[in-house]
Subunit: 135 residues, 2 copies
DNA sequence: CTGGATCCCGTAGGATACTG
DNA sequence: CAGTATCCTACGGGATCCAG
């Protein structure tokens, strides 16, 4: 890591977000806004995993998307990629310190999601129902 | 609102997320994973806003995408849409109770984003740099 | 086992013009 | 003012085959 990669621990609880409607926030939220990043983060929460383990853990992900997602997260400093020069190849992925803080920051949203799945299903059904009767 | 839209307050801090790698979590995360929802939520945090106010507040959003985003959030029960039958038309958007809880659940992620923008920029620069020198 | 290279498709989303 | 209606493009992402 070079100089600016991390200028010491940041107490981000003190940062004022009242005047940050979108710009930077969205930009970085895209980190986890794609289809698979959250699943990868969630799977790596328990510790390092190798490629095939991730592939098996994350239902429905294609090899290509796992590769792409892992490379993006590595590029952003969220996880590390360690290659063991053995046969057959063994590559291990592990969250960085920053990756773990990101993982923790996603917890409230994930909890919210799980807690409100039914309410959202209901709201959607009601909305679609009213839209139909109005027709 | 009918019965199941909200089955009472849920203490989602008590929900176990250890074994929820992706499925439902991602599904609901898509609520805010699109390009503009977070900006709308953030803008409505301060109180009700009308269409044009939102349009002006959110830099770069098109009329179409504002309309689409608002309708989706309304459908999911995140905000309400109130039409005042006057000339010229006046339509007001406001977060629901559930919308406010969602808004709060996004705070940690937004704070994280703002706090780590520089670190991520650095990590990307370093990654791209090494990829180039390796070439 | 861990990917890279291609091909292909659906859809998010921008630009523009029109309407009650 | 608050949208709808089209058109069009870029890109996310799946399937498949190949390679070290």
């Amino acid at each position: 890591m070079t100089e600016q990669a991390s200028s010491g621990p940041v107490d981000y609880r003190t940062i004022d977000i009242s005047n940050v409607p979108d710009c930077r926030a969205r930009e970085v939220l895209d980190l986890v806004a794609d289809k698979w990043s959250l699943s990868v983060l969630s799977t790596l929460e328990a510790g390092p995993r190798r490629f095939t383990e991730l592939k098996r853990s994350i239902t429905g992900i294609s090899q290509r998307m796992l590769t792409v997602t892992l490379r993006d997260l590595q590029r952003d400093g969220i996880l590390t990629r360690t290659v063991y020069a053995v046969m057959p190849p063994n590559v291990s992925y592990e969250l960085t310190a920053m990756g773990r803080t990101l993982q923790e920051a996603t917890h409230p949203l994930i909890r919210w999601s799980i807690a409100h799945v039914d309410a959202i299903d209901g709201a959607r059904a009601e909305f679609d129902n009213q839209a139909e009767t109005a027709r």
